[in-house]
Symmetry: C2
């Protein structure tokens, strides 16, 4: 019984509240679990040592299989224990970013990005966040939602560094910067150059650039051209947004774009290590179909699927950068653009054919290979960067596209193809030399060896898996262990909630060299994630409160209007009534605000709290204003008191036993 | 080994994909679990039958205690198995409703209610939902968020019937109706009578009325009065919104309100069974303090806490209804109001003193008792409806308040008090005669016997528990089994996500007559829930698609503009360009829309899908429009094409392998 005694010495219940960081995955003879328990746990008298029977009782009562028990114990995260990883998933047309703990699969936060969000006080009156959202205005007008597609964590030397995350908005061609210091959106950028994006956001290995590639071709700069002039006047583009890490902001003045032919550019990925300095994106619709199904032309889905091959775009962005510096550009709208003819002739842009309807493009951790999945194909095609580079340098072209872009020979560019099943999309990687590819139509994830390009296991998914996300999966050193399947349809998986269903994230134990094991089904209750990235949680260094007291949450500096205790006051100025307020448990000071109908009111409110989780809110009834005042945060609000009456304001976060009494009145005296 | 053989016959892995419905809770000798496993599972050779050791390995690796293993197996819900209960939690100042599966604690849906939500196409251009939101306009202006507090499921004979859920917006004094047929918000109502609410929404036992009670007193009807005239001109009110179940809508014309003194009315509950026809609400601030901490008056938190007693409001709403029918009312703003003096003199309104700073008021399942918790008190006070009714009928009053409302004697009105700990708030009930009270300051849930008013167990909560929610807990027949603690602070419970933290829902096994057991910590990633109700999932009869094809999701009838296949067309009319479109995998018809700058565009789009989960979206870039087109749903959108250019539109739901190609162009030709 020595072994048993040792086990008791390591009583698992002794573990502290700090985050446990076990290896997430280990092989387990699961097939024997219940049998063993049954064999030894048959007694009904608890004192006979038959406690194993209780597990069986629970299994029977709740319909759990042996694999379920293993999965439950691999994912259940007790009160106060922290998750090992955080996954950042795009919220799709919800316009927000979803933060999920792994392995518990609990959503720990939704971050408002493209869509205003009142709980976070994001663009519900708070001036700093209103300005962030206005950074994404299109044609001078506010857009209050986005279709968030691909999140990209900031990287240092090809590894996630936990500082920032970038996301793209497909619908309105925008990119956002979110700080992981406080999980706040701090910048939106957009360019009139393009009207939609899809290959966004992807970062270069040191986050010098955030890549945004257009999806649906349109006249560059936002102008009009008849659709019949599609081939001549419609274009794609890849924008390289320059990231200033010091300021934590994209520097639009130092950003540039590369003009592309009017194919539908799709996903993108940046080269790394040997392929650093290059970017890769695929495209569909080499046919240049543009729909017209009520005008005698084929619908886009049919028109774009006529040919057998589309074009993988290989872009030498470091060369492009030097050509931009050399001034070989023109300005289109608000953007510095490297023209297509320059990119094609100067060795910036090369095409390699790729099989039918390509979607995902993913660079292997060593930077040597580029894996492409074709939605209507049955292969994962593995391109060799070395071969592509050699062909490009030797100017050994198989031809040119109608816009003069050199085309490399398909067979000469690939290392091989993995026979994978119908509808491969996206590929992720582990630390054991395996690749994982989602297979949409077959509805499985295929695990295959990067060495010999052979499938070793397929795991059914429920249903129609789109993107997948591996632990640190886009870095130069993936962790293995966990893989997330992001399924597009949920169907019967969860309790019905009406015609609009959640999507289904399935957590998988990739299990070293063995077969994958399904661990958990997780509904996505809001939004439609497209892609996600998973980072080791201890890489993040978040703050607990804003310091100094009175900080602007975007600049992280003391706001000029910050108010400390005893500084509260009301002043009438030329531009209206200014009120400097503080919030602390359980009152605002002042709590009575007297104005006249029609006056402009400026509220400057500082939360003077510094206690962890001591957040206040500030709601002004009927005026569409709500602020979130985390400890130390300062907010400025301006509004016109255009309605006479008595308007209560109050704290919207349950902050203390006297929270309900944390209230006051805005008294708007009528004009007459 | 007969017992073991029987167990194997009932192989739990045989269970089908349909929802298992075991009793959620059963006593388990958990203390013996790991010991037993260790004793029998010491072998390291899997074939020796030592599989139990694997559970130990997992426990050790992940720091799981015996109680954790039990909790994991009581909550883990395998792929395809459905949850037994659905919990509907308010989203607080997120303005949305959160739907959570129990026991898995997975969020299955966020429902947009007071806040526009683009994933659901809720008020992002879709005309039907825009009109729903406009129903909640205040002073003629759109309010785009709400502070949702208390959800109330529709009831039939005091039992949840799974048809509708109602919620209140504290900030803007509104009530919403959500249909559980499709989890869609179908109505917002508001009245200029009051400026905020808190006791909302609560329903009468057959959902004749939805109750909304004001929180912060103000001049009724939205007018102005100096705050110095607080006692004379500021008032509270309880609105009884009449629900027309046939139409599934509140009938504002048949609704009425009762004027109340300017105390801060707080939570409410409707009587049931013996107390049917009555409603109860408590109040704070009998002191009638109104703040003024920069004007020499005490802050509200101090001013409202000076006295020892506040007033439980006992309202005979059935009598009020008959007085309203008899015309003893006046009209204030848009509301029919029973004046305070009528309510006080005609036997509609009685007060009973209640201990310091009352918050929760909850009627026992049998309707006989009213349980009140005082935030600064240490008791749960149990009032007897029989005693209150007898005193009221005998007109045996201990006095009157300054507004003439009869006050009943405290001691003569109560059945007793349960000594419960500092800061009791809310009470829920089970099927075994126990009550459960959240104790905010002590940060525990107390389980106590309704029979002898004695505490039997206290369970620590993390941290500062607010509302609690028991399975079918507000009905005449609670289920027992599960209890949810809704904690206001999370602090260290989850991986840090910046200064603004999730809240922590803790699921508890109430465990019959035994001690409560903590099962699960669940972060709330968006919003700040106040209250929740938990309903047996099989009571809900949701639809999978809208039928007939072309249904308006609010009326559930065929929209006049519904478009079937082959009916697609474009017409120019006096009011602009009308486009009748269909959506089906994987195209819109038409996919090319040609208009002139400045023209008004009317899109009438029908999803002609009828397959489960075949949802499409419709996004129009840069125009702030996104629709959700669930199968069979029709949407109308109107906008002015005020910007010349080429604007892609596309499907925002990943609907098929050719989803990316489900796109088209809006071509806006310049004027000149």
């Amino acid at each position: 019984m020595t072994a048993t005694a040792e086990r008791q010495d390591q009583d698992p219940s002794e573990s502290t509240m700090t985050t446990p960081r076990p290896r997430p995955s280990f092989p387990l003879p699961i097939g024997l679990l219940a049998v063993a328990l049954a064999a030894c746990g048959g007694g009904t008298n608890p004192s006979s040592g038959g406690g194993g029977a209780d597990v069986l009782s629970l299994m029977r009562a709740r319909g759990l299989s042996e694999a379920d028990v293993t999965a439950a114990l691999k994912t259940y995260t007790p009160s106060g224990k922290h998750d090992e990883y955080l996954t950042f998933a795009s919220g799709g047309h919800g316009g927000n970013l979803i933060v999920i703990g792994v392995p518990s699969m609990r959503i720990v936060k939704y971050i408002g990005v493209f869509t205003p969000e009142p709980w976070q006080g994001y663009a519900y009156g708070d001036d700093a966040t209103e300005r962030v959202l206005d950074g994404g205005n299109r044609f001078g007008k506010r857009v209050e939602w986005g279709d968030m597609h691909h999140p990209a964590l900031s990287e240092t030397k090809g590894d996630y560094d936990g500082q920032y995350i970038f996301v793209g908005d497909k619908a309105n061609a925008r990119v956002a910067v979110v700080s992981l210091k406080d999980f706040m959106t701090r910048q939106l950028v957009t360019s009139s150059l393009i009207q939609s994006d899809h290959g966004a956001a992807f970062v270069t290995p040191d986050t010098d650039y955030v890549i945004e590639t257009s999806q649906y071709p349109a006249p560059l700069g936002g102008g009009y051209a008849p659709i019949e002039e599609f081939n001549e006047k419609y274009r794609g583009a890849a924008i390289f947004w320059r990231f200033d890490r010091q300021r934590g902001l994209i520097d639009t003045a130092k950003s540039f774009a590369i003009e592309l032919p009017p194919y539908m550019q799709d996903l993108a990925d940046a080269g790394k290590l040997v392929s650093d300095g290059w970017a890769f994106m695929n495209s569909v619709n080499a046919e240049r179909s543009y729909g017209g199904n009520l005008e005698g032309r084929p619908a886009l889905e049919a028109g774009a699927s006529q040919g057998d091959m589309d074009y993988l775009h290989c872009i030498n962005w470091r060369l492009a950068e030097s050509l931009v510096k050399a001034g070989k550009t023109r300005t289109i709208g608000d953007m510095t653009v490297l023209p297509l003819e320059v990119a094609a002739s100067e060795g910036v842009l090369f095409f390699v054919p790729e099989p039918k309807s390509p979607h995902g493009v993913d660079i292997t951790p060593d930077g040597k290979d580029i894996v492409v999945g074709g939605k209507l194909d049955t292969h994962a095609t593995v391109y060799s960067f070395e071969k592509i580079k050699a062909l490009a340098e030797a100017k050994q072209f198989a031809g040119k596209d109608p816009y003069g872009v050199p085309i490399l020979d398909f067979k000469a560019s690939i290392r091989g193809q993995c026979e994978i099943g119908l509808g491969p999309l996206h590929t992720q990687f582990d630390d054991q030399g395996f690749a994982y590819t989602s297979v949409f139509i077959e509805s499985v994830i295929a695990k295959w060896s990067l060495k010999d390009l052979k499938v070793v296991h397929k795991l059914p998914m429920h249903y129609n898996v789109g993107h997948i996300c591996a632990a640190e999966g886009d870095t130069v050193s993936p962790d293995g262990g966990y893989l997330l399947g992001m399924n597009k349809w949920a169907m019967d998986r969860f309790t019905p909630v009406g015609p609009l269903l959640p999507q289904n994230f399935q957590l998988i134990d990739v299990n070293g060299a063995g077969e994958m094991q399904l661990l958990y089904d997780m509904p996505i209750p809001l939004g439609e994630p497209h892609y996600a990235q998973m980072i080791k949680a201890d890489k993040l260094k978040t703050i607990e409160y804003y310091s100094p007291v009175g900080s602007n949450p975007i600049t992280h500096e003391k706001d000029p209007e910050a108010t400390l205790a005893k500084q509260e006051r009301v002043e009438r100025r030329a531009d209206g009534v200014h009120v400097w307020m503080t919030a602390v448990r359980s009152h605002f000071t002042p709590d009575t605000i007297r104005v006249k109908e029609g006056e402009t009111v400026h509220l400057h409110i500082t939360s003077v709290e510094q206690a962890h989780d001591a957040t206040h809110g500030f709601a002004l009834g009927s005026y569409d204003i709500n602020l979130s005042l985390e400890p130390g945060r300062h907010s400025n609000v301006r509004f016109v008191a255009d309605r006479a009456g008595v308007f209560p304001f109050y704290c919207t976060e349950f902050c203390s036993a006297l929270h309900l009494e944390m209230a006051g009145y805005l008294l708007v005296e009528p004009k007459s």
